[in-house]
Symmetry: C2
Subunit: 436 residues, 2 copies
């Protein structure tokens, strides 16, 4: 695949478009997405899983990026959608997804969320607690429908490298595996929910496919237990997303400890081919051993598909000793540099030796608005074009309007046309919400 | 002052309004602000400084909270405004502030920001780097005006408890004191800037006034040096904000180390009376010793004024083992619990013994969406009313639309009328920006 960033003759291209001339026509900061890259990522992922388990279905995680053209591209490629709220269902529908092509995830839906999603015929509600189950049943009854549910199971995989505090957080989502059968049993007593699926999500930016193999083993075993103990026919097992992106450096606690332990194999994410192979093979094998068949395997990727499908193009506004300030920062890419380290390209200085060390700061008056520390770069000046790589995931959907409005976002279509995904905000977008 | 939260007869009141009946009329989540509390905070701050240094002026930090009625209240009380961008100038003007009543702060203004602010006659540009200085001069020249500037000085106070990494970050803002005279000299060579002020900001949530005393000492000395070496007449010294809020627990690295060292005096913030007294006295004394007079002392409070003037009212959506999920979280109050620990009140269970330990999570599908861990509470159930205290600062201005739209915000006026600050967002507020 070379649909992402390429460099030749000291020119940076993205999605097949040369950036240096392109950017002269636009203001920075500017988000730019590549349809071709998105398609290549999607196909690589889908094929990697289906090669080893054909009955795999992809549900794109809408919260990662909900630009309409991006959702439309994914739907054209065969993706379905994972929504986290009524708002995301509304957005996904606008992009063409039917309710039947969506699942709903989340630990704290409002009653309005649930009612809306029942009315829109969302295929499955991935329920996170007994309280949510009761509310879904009550509201489905009021509307006069029956809805399919799964429980989000916390598979109690001990990621041995994550200790104490972080491990405490992991239990936030899902129902412990040990309580699962009891909850499905409770669901069977309710008239307006049909427990027929199992879901999970084991974390973000997982580099090592073995965690998914263990997860698959436990969830398939649970499906067999539910068949044997309760007579439940599980139609789908949803293993969530979290497949690592190879072009991102995860400065996570996990990797720091892996590195200290001298374990290099998965300090960089496994390839999607390896994720697909290991997970697909394991899933097929476990089904066979548990005498189960025809269970759909659902994956819910987000970051893997859109991360390197998007870049943020910025310019240097000020240089001060070892600090450079660019015109986009945590207002647009809110992820902490403590967990994710992105790549940077100085588009107008390709080929110059990166022999100076800089901290790269965003434009907001916030101490935490720092995109990188001790980054080796060429000698930097005001006006230099700084490309922030891997900016497609959890950027616009988590962006805010802290002192600065949100910028334009453009899409390079497969035929290399430029299309607006969104126009930059105007002061009235804020002022119209404020009551004098 | 009892204009904030009060509890009597097992009822919680805020701004003089009893919450339990009040909230029945509204949907949660809901922001609620008290004009009386804001006024009490403002007067306490202004009087504390003016008692010891009458020529003190207050510039409210607009980025902390830009609801129009809140800005109007502050302007009525005599506050001026500190803006961080053209957007904030636009908002502050809408609330009635003139350009001459504002200063502009920030390390990375765009050319458009600078041009706009010159045209609007912003009183002083607090310049963060030589690059910004050059751009202000160039753009002022193009417009044909002269603008007053200060340099933001990094006073190189070593907060001995902040080491290595954090200290590296502190240098992000401002110009090192050692380079200051040189930069003022450079500014004197430019025709369209008038260097006549000094500014700084030493950090957020400072609990100990001694840091300001050291700062004041160094900046007044700089004013004397500028007079002696360059003949510059400094009209104003702006010490920024950062005065700690007593009702907040700062779980900052600073406090952890202070506690470990057994130093309790300032592990809770000093009172505003003490900040005002220590800073005002020191400022007057240093002016006298340096034979300076008539220099304005400018303070730029934000959090101190609005933090406990606002609360977020939420309801419990689900309880799962030791986790409770409420309907507002880091989408609305994005500050990390690692740095700030807020208080919580269960408005419908006042008086019940807090003998159970819970983690309080927000509604979004984000591992970091946790407002408190190991919080002692009464036995919790779906529907319980959770009041998140100290939610008035850096909440709406930094909020995002991650999977959930922003809610209503209400204002309790001094005469106890209820007024909308903003109406909750609708899906079209997002959809109208997305291009199909």
């Amino acid at each position: 695949m070379n649909s992402g960033i390429t460099i030749s003759n000291r020119k940076v291209s993205f999605g097949g478009i040369s950036l240096t001339e392109f950017i002269e026509k636009y203001e920075t900061p500017l988000f730019l997405f590549s349809e071709q890259r998105l398609e290549d990522n999607y196909k690589a992922l889908e094929e990697s899983f289906r090669r080893y388990y054909p009955k795999t279905e992809v549900f794109f995680s809408v919260k990662t990026n909900f630009e309409l053209s991006i959702l439309k591209t994914l739907r054209r490629l065969g993706s379905k959608a994972e929504a986290a709220s009524a708002l995301e269902v509304i957005i996904a529908k606008k992009a063409g997804f039917e309710g039947s092509e969506m699942v709903l995830d989340g630990p704290a839906w409002t009653d309005n969320d649930i009612k809306f999603c029942i009315q829109k015929n969302i295929s499955t509600f991935n329920v996170d607690s007994i309280d949510e189950l009761r509310r879904v049943n009550r509201l489905a009854k009021a509307i006069g429908k029956k809805v399919k549910i799964s429980f989000r199971i916390f598979p109690e995989i001990r990621m041995s490298i994550l200790k104490s505090f972080i491990e405490g957080y992991i239990s936030k989502f899902g129902i412990p595996l040990s309580q699962a059968v009891e909850l499905y049993k409770e669901a069977l007593t309710m008239d307006h929910v049909i427990p027929c699926a199992i879901s999970t999500h084991i974390g973000s930016m997982i580099t090592d496919p073995r965690y998914y193999e263990k997860t698959v083993q436990r969830l398939v075993k649970l499906a067999a237990d539910l068949r044997d103990e309760l007579g439940i026919n599980i139609e789908a097992i949803n293993i969530g997303g979290g497949f690592g992106v190879q072009s991102l450096n995860y400065y996570s606690i996990q990797n720091v400890i892996l590195n200290k332990a001298g374990i290099s194999q998965y300090s960089k994410a496994a390839s999607i081919e390896e994720f697909g192979k290991r997970i697909g093979q394991k899933f097929a094998k476990e089904l066979k051993e548990n005498k189960l068949s025809e269970i759909k395997l659902i994956v819910e990727p987000g970051r893997f598909l859109v991360s390197d499908s998007g870049i943020l193009i910025t310019r240097v506004v000020a240089v001060k000793d070892k600090w450079i300030f660019i015109d986009g920062g945590i207002n647009l890419i809110p992820e902490s540099i403590f967990f994710i380290r992105r790549g940077f390209l100085i588009a107008n200085k390709i080929g110059q030796e990166a022999k100076y060390e800089y901290n790269i700061a965003g434009p907001t008056l916030n101490t935490a608005d720092v995109l990188a520390v001790n980054q080796k770069l060429p000698k930097m000046e005001v006006g230099d074009l700084v490309i922030v790589l891997d900016s497609g995931a959890y950027s616009l959907t988590r962006s805010n309007q802290f002192t600065i409005l949100r910028p334009d976002a453009l899409y390079i279509t497969k035929d290399k046309k430029i299309k607006y995904l969104r126009k930059k905000e105007q002061p009235d977008d804020i002022l119209n919400k404020l009551i004098p």
